[in-house]
Amino acid sequence: MKKQQIYNFTILAICSFLIISCGQSETDSNFTEDNNKTTEIDSSNIMMNIGGSIFSIPSPIQTTLLMSQVGAEFNASMLNSKDNADNYSSDFLKALNLGVYGCDLGYSAAYQNNDLSLKYLSTIRNIASYIDLENAFDETLIERFSNNFGNKDSMLVLVSEAYKGADIYLKENEKDDVAALVVAGGWIEANYLSCMIIKENSNKLIIDRLIEQKTSLQTLINMLEQLGSDDDYWDLAAELGELYTLYESIEFSSEYVPPVTDFENKTTTLKSKREANATSEQLNAIIEKLLLIRNEITN
C-alpha cells in the first residue's frame, strides 16, 4: 500500500513538473494596469511562446515598397543572382537565402517587374523544396501570382502570405531555427538594397530607414542566439553584433506625445517623436559592414 502511495506521488510529481515546464517564463518584461498610463516593470508573470521568446522583425517588403515610393530607380543588378541558388549546399545557407530571395521577389514585385518576379518565385520554390517548404510555395501560388500581374498589392499580399505560411509551418514543426534564418535573410537583403541605393543616391528617407534598424537588429541577434542550433548561427549573430556596435555609436532621442484615438474608425495615431543623428562616417561604416555581411551569405 505504501509503495502504491509513493508511486502515485511520483506520477503526480512528474505531471506537475511537465505542466510547469511547459509554461515556464523567460523574457524580462512587464505589464500593469496602471491608470496613470505609465508603468513600472514587474518581471514576474512573463511567459514564452511555443518554441521560445517572441521576436518581431519588420517586413522586408515594406522597405522595398519605400524604395519604389521614393522614386529610386529599379536596378536588377543589385539583387542576388538566381544562379547562386545552386551553390548553397547547406540547409543554413538555403534557409538564409530563401529570405534573401523573398526580399528580391518583393523588390521586383514592388516595381512590377513581372518577368523577374516570376523567375525569383521559381528560384524560391526550388530552394524551398530542399527545406521541406514546397507546400508554402506550390504551383497554385505561382498560378495565382501570374493571374495578378499588374496588381502590385495582390502580388505583394501573395508573397507575404506564402512567407507567413512558411513561418507557421516551420514553427509548428519546431524548426524555429530555420524560421529565424528566413527572417534574417530578408532583413539583411532589405538593408543591403537600402545601402546600395544610398551609395548611388543619398535619399534621406532611405537613410532614415536604414538608421531606424537598431532595434530590429538587436531583436535579430537575440533571435539567432536563442534559436540557433549550431556554430553557423552564432557566427552570423557575431557578425551582426559587430554591426550593432556601429549603431550604438549613433545618438537617438525621443519624446513622448500622447496618442490620439479615433474610436469610430478603430484607429490610434501614435504621435511620439524620435530623432537620430548619424554622421556620414557612422553611416558609411554601417553600409560597409552590411555589404560585407550580405556578400558573405550570398556568395
Binding site: 505589464f31 505609465t38 511567459m47 518581431s56 498589392d153 507575404s160 478603430k266 490610434t268 501614435l270 504621435k271
Partner: protein, 157 residues
C-alpha cells in the same frame, strides 16, 4: 519481487499519463491552428475590400500559450508614415485576447490598450514618426484562464 497487480497498475497509469499528455499537446496544436485562420481574416476584412484597403502581412506569426496571469511581450518597430493593423485572438467569440502597446521610455508610457475598447480583436495604428514599442499580450481572466493566443501584424499599402 513485484506483484503482477502492481505491474498492471504501473502499465495502466503510465499509458494513461502519456495519453493525457499527448491529447493535451494535440488539442493545443489544433486550437492554435484554428486561431491562425481567424486572425488572418482580420487582416483584410470585407469592409477593407469595400474601401479598397490592402494590408500586407509582415510574414510572421506570433503565438503564445498563455496560462492564467502570464503575459507575452515582444519589441516592435513601427515605421513613420505607415499604417499598421494588429490583430489577435484567443480562439473564441467573446474577445478574451487583450493587448497593450507601450513605448520604450523609462518609465514606459501606455500608448494603447484594447481593454479600453471592449477587447477589440484588431486595431489600426497610424504612425507619425518611427517608434520602437513593446507589445504585451494576455488573456482577459474574466473570460478565459488559459489557452493559445495568436497575433499578426500587417502594414497598409
Amino acid at each position: 519481487m513485484k506483484s503482477p497487480i502492481n505491474m498492471n497498475y504501473l502499465v495502466k497509469n503510465t499509458t494513461l499519463l502519456f495519453a493525457l499528455l499527448l491529447s493535451g499537446a494535440l488539442y493545443s496544436q489544433t486550437e492554435c491552428d484554428q486561431i491562425d485562420e481567424v486572425v488572418n481574416e482580420m487582416l483584410n476584412t470585407p469592409i477593407d475590400k469595400a474601401f479598397d484597403r490592402t494590408f500586407i502581412s509582415d510574414g510572421q506569426i506570433y503565438k503564445a500559450f498563455i496560462d492564467e496571469d502570464e503575459k507575452a511581450e515582444f519589441k516592435l518597430t513601427l515605421y513613420g508614415g505607415s499604417t499598421y493593423r494588429i490583430a489577435g485572438s484567443a480562439g473564441d467569440s467573446d474577445n478574451s485576447f487583450i493587448f497593450e502597446i507601450y513605448d520604450t521610455e523609462f518609465p514606459r508610457n501606455l500608448l494603447f490598450s484594447n481593454t479600453d475598447y471592449n477587447n477589440c480583436a484588431y486595431w489600426d495604428f497610424k504612425i507619425e514618426n518611427t517608434i520602437d514599442c513593446y507589445v504585451v499580450t494576455g488573456l482577459d481572466l474574466t473570460k478565459k484562464l488559459s489557452g493559445c493566443t495568436v497575433m499578426m501584424i500587417a502594414f497598409e499599402n
